[in-house]
């Protein structure tokens, strides 16, 4: 238990970082009703661009911005495959993801791993800060978890505003009923591409933050991102769905979902002292359970009749 408590701040921070990528996925998966597999690649793209830019001497904020832009470009490519080449969204994402593997390696100078020395560069967060805060070497507000909370809050605020605008509403309409959207003069293809770009921009930002946090970018860092993202969305919905109806709160639920996911994983690791090679298996099982819960609920629990709703 002690080892779990020790690991808790790290787990929460990781969860928050991945929560940003999950919010990106929420845009395509929930709002646009698209399954976008680009994310496994664009997550790493974000990390790679960030690390390489910083190593080249760019300011950390410029590096983060460049990472977001690179991610958006990846989304754009998937959108192009999907809308202009008529490739189904899932396949379009897989193609981009595959291609990105080479692109990511190229960005990282053909190395599978590129370190980022925390002492040499001015990062916004690092796993090292966790202990430094704990031992009083750093002020509490430099705790990595707080930094990511701030990022998340700003992102949710911007998205809340954006999806209330004419453009944002037309993206939502595209996902809700594309036939109706076109009948109302909405360019659904454009909106899908835009949504994919925004989504992957956030995914890349998340990757960039993780690379700073762990102090390196690595070619496999995005593997399984889609599963973690879906897990966060679903865990968030199962846990907070009844309470959180407002759009901003729904985004918050996604972020919290990611945190819960990482806490559960950490709990399993600490308590069962499991070989971390089993992590992927455990992740898959956790996601399967959370996916099954709403289904089982509907199936085996008798439904209460809704009142006051006329047909």
């Amino acid at each position: 238990m002690a080892s779990f408590l020790n690991a808790l701040p790290g787990a929460v921070t990781q969860g928050l970082i991945w929560g940003i990528m999950a919010i990106g996925l929420f845009i395509t998966y929930k709002l646009l009703d698209l399954s976008d597999l680009t994310v496994d690649g664009s997550f790493c793209t974000g990390g790679a661009v960030c690390v390489m830019m910083m190593a080249a001497g760019f300011n950390v904020w410029i590096a983060l911005l460049a990472a977001v832009a690179a991610g958006m470009l990846a989304g754009l490519v998937t959108g192009f495959f999907h809308t202009k080449c008529g490739i189904p969204a899932i396949l379009a994402g897989i193609l981009t993801q595959l291609g990105l593997w080479s692109v990511n390696l190229a960005i990282m100078d053909m190395k599978a791993n590129q370190p980022l020395n925390v002492n040499k560069y001015n990062v916004v967060l690092s796993i090292r800060y966790l202990e430094e805060v704990q031992y009083g070497l750093r002020p509490i507000w430099e705790h990595p978890a707080l930094t990511v909370v701030l990022f998340t809050a700003v992102i949710i605020a911007i998205l809340y505003w954006f999806f209330g605008t004419e453009l944002g509403a037309s993206i939502r309409a595209t996902g809700a009923n594309s036939k109706m959207a076109r009948a109302q003069g909405i360019n659904t293809n454009f909106n899908k591409v835009l949504g994919l770009a925004i989504s992957n921009g956030l995914v890349a930002l998340s990757g960039a933050l993780l690379s700073q946090y762990q102090g390196f970018a690595e070619i496999n860092m995005g593997r399984g991102a889609i599963v973690i993202g879906l897990a966060s969305i679903i865990i968030g919905e199962v846990t907070f769905g009844k309470l959180f109806r407002n759009f901003g709160l729904r985004l918050l639920a996604v972020s919290l979902g990611a945190v819960i996911y990482y806490i559960v994983i950490q709990l399993v690791i600490s308590l069962l002292e499991i070989n971390t090679n089993y992590l992927k298996l455990i992740s898959a099982l956790i996601v399967a359970v959370f996916l099954a819960v709403p289904f089982w609920r509907k199936r085996y629990l008798p439904k209460k009749k809704k009142e006051g709703q006329h047909a």
């Binding site: 954006f162 209330g164 605008t165 004419e166 453009l167 944002g168 509403a169 037309s170 939502r172 309409a173 809700a176 009923n177 036939k179 109706m180 959207a181 076109r182 009948a183 109302q184 003069g185 909405i186 360019n187 659904t188 709703q309 006329h310 047909a311």
Partner: protein, 264 residues
Amino acid sequence: MLDIQNVFKTFNAGTVNEKVALKGLNLHLNEGDFVTVIGGNGAGKSTMLNCVAGVYPVEEGTISIGGVDVTGMPEHKRAQFIGRVFQDPMMGTAATMQIEENLALAARRGKSRFLRSGITKEEREVYREELKILGLGLEDRMTAKVGLLSGGQRQALTLLMATLQKPQLLLLDEHTAALDPKTAAKVLEVTQKIVEQDHLTTLMITHNMRDAIAYGNRLVMMYDGHVVVDVSGEEKKNLTVEQLLNLFSRASGSDEVNDKLLLA
């Protein structure tokens, strides 16, 4: 207003399922025409509307609206001229969005959408007044998700959305067919009211011949991908269902088609 000239549309061309749905279709609508369209199943009525709206490209012929050639224009661009209501009540609205959000989307038909607010306070007031006209009490449920509404309520809302931004052309594809008779009558009544009030040029497909005779100033009958009967004015007003059936068999040159056109 609407000019359809010699339009051909084939589905699944070059396969065993090849189907020529429109065979040299010609139809001209004057400004303010309210045209009812009848015809048997598969006559090409929906295909005609879909081709006008830009859902499908056509192989041959031209379509123009208000003098603008729209033949090659994508669907979302054509929407600036056209209001549409579909047969399926689920089709015309976004179920997961609020009533007022749906209206706000419709109010921006044909306009560019940027980072302005998706719905303003003043708009809400306008929508409240417009919803009152429907007489369904929707003005008190403006933030309810459309998915909670009944089929009839959704059709009425779709109709309002189609006409909120006055369209040059209103396309109704059996928009009351999925409703119970009472609701259907109500939606038709609202349709009549809006069309008259805004002098909308309208194409209304129906399988109900009595409605086809009762509504509009002109009646068109389709058979096998083109128009076979076209009556208007006094002649249309005085039509009976029986005469209509006779007209149809003469135009299509056979009796068996009578069955195809039986009252819905």
